[in-house]
Every structure is written in C-alpha cells, then in structure tokens.
Amino acid sequence: MKKPELLVTPTSVSHIHDLANAGADAVIIGQQRYGLRLAGEFSRADVKEAVNIVRQYGMKVYVAMNAIFHNDKVDELGDYITFLADTGVDAIVFGDPAVLMTVREVAPHMKLHWNPETTATNWYTCNYWGRKGAKRAVLARELNMEAILEIKEHAEVEIEVQVHGMTCMYQSKRSLIGNYFEYQGKVMEIERKKYEKGMFLYDKERDSKYPIFEDENGTHIMSPNDICIIDELSEMVDAGIDSFKIDGVLHEPGYITEVTKLYRRAIDLCAENREQYEKEKDELLAKIEAIQPKHRPLDTGFFFKETVY
C-alpha cells in the first residue's frame, strides 16, 4: 500500500538529522520574510546546508513562501526563487499568486505546493491551482474527514493534510501585542517585549489559552489545542492522501522529534500491518500524551467536528 509522506518542521539545521533518524520523509523550512509561522528560521546558508543534509538521507526539502505579500517584497521574490532553484530545493510552498507568477518567469520547472492556509476548502479549487502550475494542495485545517476524503477522490494534485500540532486561527498585519503595550503606556519595553516567547491570550468563557506572537508578517493567534490523530490515520491512508504534516511551530525540537518517531511507527503499521496498528494505536496516542506540554491539550481538530454557518 502507498504510504503518505511524513512531512515535518525542523527548528534548525542540526535538528534535520534528528528528524531524519526519527523517520521523516520531508522537511519544510524557510524564513519569516517569505514564509508563515515556521518552526525555525533558515537563512540562505541554512537552506543550502539543509539541502545537503536531506540528500544524504534521501529526504525532500520544501521552502515556505506562503506569506501575504505587499508591493515592497515583490521585486525580491525572483532573486530568492532563483536561489532556491539553484540550490535544488524540491518545492516552493505558496499562497499568494505573486509567487506563482514569479516562478513562471524565473524557475518554470520548480515544483509548487499551493498552501493558502484557511482557504483551500474544496476539490475544484485545488484542481484550479493545479492547472495554474501547483503539484500539491495543502488543505485547510478546518475541514472534516469526510470533506478531506471527497477532495482526495476528485483531486488531480497531491493532497497534504496536517495530522499533528497547532494551527493558526487568525493573522493580522497589525502589531497587536506592541499596540497593547503602547496603550498601557509601556512604551520603552515594546520593541524588546513584543517578540518575546510564551505569550498567550486567555479566554475565560471557554477556559482556553491561545498562543499569540508577532513577527514580520504581523500578529498570529494560534489554536488552544494540538491536533493529534495518530490513532485515526486509516481512512486517509486508504484514500491515498499524499502527505501527512506534523507542524511543530512553538514546540521544542525534542518534542517534535519524538512525535515524528511515533507517527513514523503509526504510518508504517497502518500501511503494512493494519491489525497491529489497530492494536498499538492507543498506546501510540498515550505516548504522545505523556510528552505533551501541560498547557497544550490534544484534540482531533476539525476532523470529526460539525461546523455550521
């Protein structure tokens, strides 16, 4: 049976070795200048090194360029894409059509993954971007299992689904943390403080904690729980979903490595020995629960949720 790719997010160049040994098939890296909410920051030199490392392991490396671009960065996209093509990365992840347009101009053979985060929600539109040049669509995390399977059934492009980690609920261009400090009159501390780690919003009504951070792309508010469906992979493996992603943003490298190992085991069993997967899957879930940070409860995201409108 075809196995989905296990795609993970390293926090640094050296972390790629650990993830390779943990069983990852591919990594996604990049820099916040062009990509959204990455687990680590990778300079051009880091990208070169990452390409060398993944080649040793027979893995793939994708580079995130899925920011929402304003005019100021449009002229530099070509240079960065040319660099990525020369360096030999396996694909570029985009959401903004400006990236697609620039790839056509400077690196027409570069593989593209379409990832607009919240807006990849039906099979027709996945195929539309396929006709425009994308080889893969990364689905919105707000879809349920039934919708995902239906998209795969009709898809003419590869389909990537996030199976683990937190997701973004809200992205603003505004400096919301900095503005709040300024409003409070803490002006002197802002530049230092607004980029600090570990901030979250507390929602009393739901007793939920939403991680929040600022970077070059604005302010990001993240989901209160980490998705974990290590015990619910069968339907998507059977359907031939092409890639399972573990998003490690805001997690420690050691945690990401352990989770990668456990999903490696789960995917292998699910594809090769379903009976054993069924026996072992609760134990795999328990192993993740055991290493889960206290403030990050697990849930199954939107896979089994009914959303109305």
């Binding site: 929402i68 005019n71 400006a98 919240t118 929602d203 302010t219």
Partner: protein, 422 residues
C-alpha cells in the same frame, strides 16, 4: 505614470475638473436598504443572495427580490453587484451553476467572488456577469493583481491592509479596476485568514458564520516555566484585537486622484438610517471634489453628519500607514450612536405643510428633530402637535411603523429621513 484610459482630470473652460469620477458603492442589506442607498446617491450597490454570500445572518435577498432591486437600480442608472464570496466547500458545489445563471437572468451587473470555483463556474455558465475579486482574497500587491487580470477579472477589491502608496503602485502597474473600502467596520485580520469563529463557536467564518470573536476581551499572559505571568495591571482594559471602524472621508480627494475606480461603504447589516447618512455624505464629498478639486475643502458638517450614525469610533486604518493602538478599541467595542432614526417621510403637503411620516422610533411633541435627504439641506425643528392617520391627536408617536402626521415648516420629500438626538 498613469495609464491612458485613466485620465483623471482635465482643464475645462480654464478650470480643472475630475473626469474620472469614482463609483460610490453602497451596501444593500435588503430591498428597502437598496432603494434608500440608490435614492441617496449610490452609483452601485452590493447585496447578498440566499446562498454563497458571507453574512449568513443578514436579511439576504431572494432571486425575486434581486430582480426587483435591479429594476429599481436601473431606473436610477445604478448597478447591482451580488456577493458570492464564500470559500466554498465540496457540499456547496451542487446548485452553484443554477444560482449563477439565475443572477445573470435577473440582470445583475457583476458578482464579488473569492473562490476560483465560483470565478470559473460564472465564466462558463453566466458569462455576462462581471467578476470582481473579493477582499476575502486579501490581495495586497501588484503582481497578484496582475495574475487576476490575466485570469480575465474586471475588478479587484484590494486587501484592507493596502496603503495609499501601495494602491498608487498597483494602479500604475496593472490596468484593472480597483475597488477600495472607504467606510465601515473592519476585520482586524487579513480577510479570509481568520477562523476564530470556527474554533470558538463551530461556525465557519469563511462561509458567513463569523461571530465577531475579535470583538471580545482576552487577557494577555506570558508563560515562564510553569508560571503564568499576567501582562496587564488591574486597572488596564483587557487585550483586544477589535479595530475601530474605517472612515476615509478626509482621504477621498487622494483616492480620486489615485484613480481608484470604486469607493466602497461596508455594512449590509446596518440600518437604513446608517446607509442614508453615510451615502449622502460621501455623495456630497465626491461631487464637490470632482466639480472643483483645486478649491475643495472638507466641511466640518460632513464629518459631524457621519458621527450621527456611528456606533463605533473611527480611524483611517491602513490607508495612511500602519495602524497604532489608537486604531483599536480597548475595554468597549462599540458606543451608542448620538442620534437615532425617528421616521421616514412618506409624503408632504405643500399647502398645509403637513408631513406624512412612518414612525421608526419614539418621539413626542416638544422633541427637536432633524430632517435630511438628497433634495434638502439638513434642518432642525421642534415637533408640535402629532396626529394619527385618522386625525386623532397623539401624546407621542409610540408605535413602530405607525403612520403619523404633523407640521413641518420646510418642504420635505418622500424617502427623506427624520432623526433625533439621544
């Protein structure tokens, strides 16, 4: 460099006038609001049908109502656009073709769309409809706009995060119509990139289920080890992402000189009083500037007029640069309006000076009221005796939609409105 079809002004009889007058585009939450918006001077309106439109809670139009709205708008030479700007899920695909054909059949001028599914389906089954890219796509650069031009779209509604300088560059580089927001409530997130409602209330924000979680209060903490440190003092208002409403009245001259093709007022959920007030003010600003741009000044009374229907503080947002803390609301996410809508003029008898008016809020003899409308200059007067339709004297106009009569000194016209201070 301006494109040749984008000549904005000309010297006529020794005076510069604006020859490229932008469209004033207003929200039409229902048929009554559509008629008011058009009557008060909108060049075009946008409305939502029963499906495929955001604002699932709005009083959306049936196909028959859309056709009636188009007929009404056409009498004034105004255009009707229909929003079909959801990000569709698989389950929304069946029925789409029939819906788009029906819109074309109803005489709708164009649709405002975010999802390529709807763009391509409209091209195929309803080719007479113009296709405008919704702000839900958050397009903020010229190259992305170029992409949509090459896809054959007539117009792009830019991301609300674009500044005047960015719009200038987009207009210079791409020959496509640009629509920009000038007034109304703002998403504080990039449109289309917020799923707070999905997480907090299981309602899909990108299909109209938005429950405005960005208007709620949150407490900001920092996790240090296992300790949760509050980043606020007892006296501080809580953290909020809530944005003040957009108000670009002072920027209208710049927007006209930039050659922006359509100036859009947000607010399909707002009242007819709001729509009438905002449309009439911007109508006056645009007309005055276009007639004599070099001697134009903003009149304070226009700014005050907008304030009479505002239920939030306002700010220029991204148009003039990066919003700061002053562009946000902390502690309270709305405020009471200073004026309320008291009645809609149905008729006026010049001989007897009696107005026939439909009551929209309580008023009584002795109240000072203000009349406004496209045919008149605003004026105030004190209400004297009030009668009902049968000529019985009333101590007050108490009942919503009740028809009442009283004396109004100056001439008023059907669809003029009466408001009073609160």
């Amino acid at each position: 460099m301006l494109l040749k079809n984008d000549k904005i002004s000309e010297i006529i009889n020794g005076k510069r006038v604006i020859v490229k007058k932008p469209e004033l585009l207003a929200p039409a939450g229902n048929l009554e609001k559509l008629k008011i918006a058009v009557h008060y001077g909108a060049d075009a309106v946008f409305l939502g049908g029963q499906e495929y439109s955001l604002r699932a809670n709005a009083d959306n139009f049936t196909l028959e109502e859309i056709a009636e709205g188009v007929r009404f708008a056409n009498q004034y030479g105004a255009k009707v656009y229909v929003t079909a700007n959801i990000y569709a899920h698989n389950e929304n695909i069946p029925g789409l073709e029939e819906y788009l054909r029906a819109l074309e059949q109803a005489g709708v001028h164009g649709i405002i769309v975010a999802d390529p599914l709807i763009i391509e389906t409209a091209r195929r089954v309803a080719p007479k409809l113009e296709v405008h890219l919704s702000t839900q796509q958050s397009m903020a650069n010229w190259k992305a706009v170029q992409f949509w031009k090459e896809e054959g779209l007539e117009r792009v509604v830019l991301a609300r995060e674009t500044s005047a300088e960015e719009i200038r560059e987009i207009k210079e580089k791409v020959d496509i119509e640009i629509e920009a927001f000038i007034h109304g409530a703002m998403c504080s997130a990039y449109s289309g990139r917020c799923v707070l409602s999905n997480h907090m209330t299981a309602r899909d924000s990108n299909r109209g289920g938005c429950c405005q979680s960005c208007r709620w209060d949150y407490d900001l903490y920092q996790l240090k080890g296992d300790k949760e440190i509050p980043l606020f003092d007892e006296n501080d208002a809580p953290f909020a992402m809530s944005a003040k409403d957009l108000n670009l009245i002072r920027a209208i001259p710049t927007m006209i000189e930039l050659g922006i093709d359509s100036l859009k007022i947000e607010g399909r959920m707002k009242s007819i009083h709001y729509v009438a007030t905002v449309v009439s003010v911007y109508r006056k600003v645009i007309d005055a500037y276009c007639a004599d741009p070099d001697n134009f000044t903003i009149r304070e009374e226009w700014i005050k007029e907008l304030d009479k229907c505002a239920n939030r503080d306002t700010a220029p947002s991204f148009f003039t640069g990066m919003p700061g803390y002053q562009d946000h609301m902390y502690g309270s996410h709305s405020r009471k309006t200073t004026h309320e809508f008291a009645g809609l003029v149905l008729d006026y008898d010049k001989e007897t000076k009696m107005v026939t008016l439909q009551q929209r809020n309580f008023f009584k003899p002795g109240d000072e009221v203000e009349f406004f409308g496209p045919e008149i200059e605003n004026f105030t007067q004190v209400v004297e005796k009030i009668w009902d339709e049968d000529g019985n004297e009333l101590d007050a106009a108490r009942h919503p939609l009740q028809i009442v009569k009283f004396k109004v000194e100056r001439e008023v016209f059907p669809y003029n409105m009466m408001r009073k201070g609160i």
